[in-house]
Symmetry: D2
Subunit: 382 residues, 4 copies
Amino acid sequence: MRSLGIALLGYGGIGRVHALGYRAIPFHYGLPADAVRLVGVATRHPQTAERAAAEIGCPVWTTDYRQLLARDDVDAIDCCLPNDQHEEVVVAAAAAGKHIYCEKPLAAGVDAARRMVAAVQEAGVLTQMTFNYRFFPALLQAKQLVDQGFLGRVFSFYGRYYRSSYTDPQKPLTWRLRKDASGGGALFDLGSHVLDLVYWLLGDFAAVNATLETLVKERPLAPGSAEMGQVDVDDLALLQLRMAGGSLGTVESTRFATGAVNDLLLEVYGERGSLRFSLGDPAWLEVYDAGDTTLRGFRKVETVQRYAGQKAPDWTAMPGFVRTHTECQYQFLRAIWDDQAASPSLADGLAVQEVMDAACRSAATGKWVAIDAPDVNPETSP
Amino acid sequence: MRSLGIALLGYGGIGRVHALGYRAIPFHYGLPADAVRLVGVATRHPQTAERAAAEIGCPVWTTDYRQLLARDDVDAIDCCLPNDQHEEVVVAAAAAGKHIYCEKPLAAGVDAARRMVAAVQEAGVLTQMTFNYRFFPALLQAKQLVDQGFLGRVFSFYGRYYRSSYTDPQKPLTWRLRKDASGGGALFDLGSHVLDLVYWLLGDFAAVNATLETLVKERPLAPGSAEMGQVDVDDLALLQLRMAGGSLGTVESTRFATGAVNDLLLEVYGERGSLRFSLGDPAWLEVYDAGDTTLRGFRKVETVQRYAGQKAPDWTAMPGFVRTHTECQYQFLRAIWDDQAASPSLADGLAVQEVMDAACRSAATGKWVAIDAPDVNPETSP
Amino acid sequence: MRSLGIALLGYGGIGRVHALGYRAIPFHYGLPADAVRLVGVATRHPQTAERAAAEIGCPVWTTDYRQLLARDDVDAIDCCLPNDQHEEVVVAAAAAGKHIYCEKPLAAGVDAARRMVAAVQEAGVLTQMTFNYRFFPALLQAKQLVDQGFLGRVFSFYGRYYRSSYTDPQKPLTWRLRKDASGGGALFDLGSHVLDLVYWLLGDFAAVNATLETLVKERPLAPGSAEMGQVDVDDLALLQLRMAGGSLGTVESTRFATGAVNDLLLEVYGERGSLRFSLGDPAWLEVYDAGDTTLRGFRKVETVQRYAGQKAPDWTAMPGFVRTHTECQYQFLRAIWDDQAASPSLADGLAVQEVMDAACRSAATGKWVAIDAPDVNPETSP
Amino acid sequence: MRSLGIALLGYGGIGRVHALGYRAIPFHYGLPADAVRLVGVATRHPQTAERAAAEIGCPVWTTDYRQLLARDDVDAIDCCLPNDQHEEVVVAAAAAGKHIYCEKPLAAGVDAARRMVAAVQEAGVLTQMTFNYRFFPALLQAKQLVDQGFLGRVFSFYGRYYRSSYTDPQKPLTWRLRKDASGGGALFDLGSHVLDLVYWLLGDFAAVNATLETLVKERPLAPGSAEMGQVDVDDLALLQLRMAGGSLGTVESTRFATGAVNDLLLEVYGERGSLRFSLGDPAWLEVYDAGDTTLRGFRKVETVQRYAGQKAPDWTAMPGFVRTHTECQYQFLRAIWDDQAASPSLADGLAVQEVMDAACRSAATGKWVAIDAPDVNPETSP
């Protein structure tokens, strides 16, 4: 198993989590410490890049990510940049033959996302999205049950992601609140996680009926500034979704749920059983088996230490947020080692991008909008 | 305080609950046993009427409700009939000068509902809807907080009522599954409760964007019958709602949430605070006070034995379903004794009927439908 | 089925609950209204007795309970008096050939309790204790599982009853705080409920190791009074218990659990499975089946509308406190109608009294105290 | 801030967690990667030592821990060996002038523990116990509230640690089941965590009344072996505890709570407020403020991202098990850098050892046993 070199592009909060994830992999999967090498880091400013390299303990830092793409000892890049910068670096990395690990959402707009998938497909590199929530053991268990037909016909589903991060109207107009940089608001930042889980568990989207709302329409351009700018993304997104498989459901995301810390729910109701997951209690999957008529009730299923891979130190009821990233990253490296398609891939990221784009069009017109299945060649799908 | 005579019209499951409620009132409010008299009961068949009278311990039974309307010792009627029979008896009772207590929803259709409100308004009788869920102490506490401005500007809300009562496709086509008799399905039966709570707490509805779905489209006409009939009501109703006050939210109701027993949730998120209620844990209101920055978190507020009226035997953490009916009925009697408007009135029932009717039209067209505030004269509003 | 006449002895808060329970029985069990008659009520003061009779709607009131015992139309008495008055009325009622329904604990002292059981045994009347918590559907389900051998060998158990009713040191020295009147404090008032549940599910007690603590040692003799009296009962009781069947466990009761409203827990852990019940969520029994190794987890079992008797209006997830009394009372009446032993009987009340007495002796000596199985003749056990 | 060199003694499951913790520190606290160096690892067998060194990425491995003590580039040792091997290595490390980080419980017996504390005290090295549960943000918040007098007089407390790890009677007789190697069973392994939390929050123990039970008395000497050995440690430990500060409580630990995964509870009830923590929901502290009489109820306080140190990637509601170790280790390193006493120290470990020893003596005699405060010189306390 050859040693893999990673270049980190971007080192904000989430970049730091990824860096820690790579360092944790040997301990969770029983690998030699040099199975994965952090070769270098690129950020916009020299000071932050240098400090990042010291923290990571990697030899190289730069403000020009192309220097990292040019290195032979870099096998893959990890993109933790703002949404609107994903396209450039992903396309360049694909052209350089580097495998690609990319934070969600895939891009700030669906056109960019399509170009990115086309580029990686053409280059034939392996790709993976940071849809880390898929890797909670409880959700891995859910996926297994769904794939085994446990639910039977799916009647309906419900998903939410509520946070309260923007209720303060004095919070300034950062890139997450500007459509050109982020592509969208609560829908893109939070909803993308839930939409990916729905897509992963229930398959392709067929149509969406969405309402988007901006609750605070103007914000200071900078902290404490009197100069105000227009917020052009949603603070609250309500989606009704019809799946290609026939089921119907609701997905909500908001950054204005006062008091909510990190309130993600996913529930699926089927003819043979039902599943419920809550990020507030992430070690468990609630499972209802309609066939079990003697002692009827939702079972709070133990899913701890049930990662797909090797047994890990998280044997207790507390898998933690960092751990889901570590697993997501490990699956990417595993795919490279095994030279097999990674999952969730950038094509999966595009599927989520398509439904978010359709939701924006639905909200603009007040009508249902149909969603075509992404036009990707499954043979060569990255 | 004069003794009030009640005539029960209908004696199915819910009629029995009402009868027990009247019998329980003296114990809960410290009244003489004859403060409320159950004068008589009317049902369709003589046998059921006679058995009902024996169980209730009332002297009179009949299959013709008009005999009860003709009695001087009847002050009020209590209507527990199927939805499509409400109009006839309510209009007749109003004409007979009887006060009216009526199960929800008000009618099978909005036109009937409008005629009923006009009739009771003209007759000047007191009226009350059985929106019993309002009378959980936790929700009385919620109302008080909302009225005190605890929430500030309301950002959004979420309500659901999930049950699993119709997942069996062999369950026959009862009146609840026929639009002519019931007016609607999950929306009318379950959604009406949640819509009333939203209306009560947040005021008038402005517009609705609804999707209705019939999940099992044909059912046996009778248990075990091979003859099938068309289900023409919804099994699943997804509503996006905009309130006149500016807030936006989702209300869902389904009879196909496999494993759900009685899963009603109501959550309201405002700039100054938030509220959460769950029928699965009905003795508590979860309250978040955004102004409290030292120990931030949802508080599980004790609301037991906090009925508006006199202290009652329900001093423990278990108010129970029957108790909410008893309180709702007591408020009606109280209004008669005090000669003041009762609440929730039939006009409130009409407000819920209007939004349900608009939801049906929205679902048929796939568009948002505006809702006019009910055109009732507040001076003489029943 | 002959009509049964009941005499109520005592009409405080719990007497009122019992009266309502009798009135509710016809509706819950489909019986004629006169299946149970409330003949009369006796209290200490004429005014309270007269007001009670008006509220109950019964013809007779008195300050001398013997007048009620003398009546032929009284089949049974219901004793809701303070603990130290139980013996006199129960012994007198037995002598008068009346069946006996008695609030817990059976007596203020174990000697009185033994005499009472001897008296009812000799008289051959039917008796029942108000251990109403047994009649939560969730606990009826637990009993059924235990009796079916679901748990296998029982390893351990845990029970608690926490309330916060006496944390205010200015709360005066009522009869519940005086040993001569109550027999004990948190142990007798709250612990007796848990001990009965343990006894019912797991059988006879073998030994107890108890610590009792009085947290507020002096209280005003009357509200606001400067004159103080000694509290000679426990505010907090910690028990380690060994059962005749071999299992070991803890039972705690306190009236000083600040913030606890009505926090009763019962958990039993066995080799084949486990059970958990919480009064804060009383519609559910949590069940773990160790034999189910595919989806391991506690199941939150639906127990609503699962009363042993006829289907009742409590079809929702909210059985309520009053409902458990109604069921307990119904089982007593059922026993009279069927002329069969009632359960829980006064002999069961004595078993609880014996363990409480042993706990007091253990606390006084700091040692384990063995408990003899109550010496009652099972042939003639009341 | 000088770079610190660590030697790992032992590399089982918990040693791996510690190693990962050291690697994670730079990312959580914004330190250079070489702020902490993993110099070497010692295990019993050469193969495991070599593999550990490869996984850790450290240059040195050995089967003789003294080689690590002899190195100048080792500043501290981290002891993850079985309980009965702690004394030898800790005393040797102290003699070599190394700072000491030690897994709990401190020793297999109280005499060894006392000698260890004497040795480190004499050597003047800094020491820290792995009482990692203290470092859940929720418990750090609890400690702060207790220290601020939030509870007022403490009435009582309750703690448990339930697991189900030994219910299988075929599980062989490992070192954790032999008193000579482990010192005790559920009490030492699980109870020690809870006892440390009680000690940390409420101060010195005064006396204990304990019952210890071995539920499976014989086990195979090896997996599948027919040869059986005697289990001489407890499977279940029930403790009643009296604190020097006057409060009274229960602490339970068991490895036979069928269905329990990792069920640690801690509750403290005081005159002014109460606190509740559950390891099953570790991101929250439930707080009841008795002074807040308008909206009474337990508040589920957000404690995420509230570590005492620098802000960390765990900003979501999922701090995770590994994270608590990382924080505990960081506090140790911080103490070395600042040349200040570390906490929890080995003297704190001794306090827990003393109460466990007293519990064993209490269980043997069936009586309360008084506990002397550990005789350590606070001036030089390690």
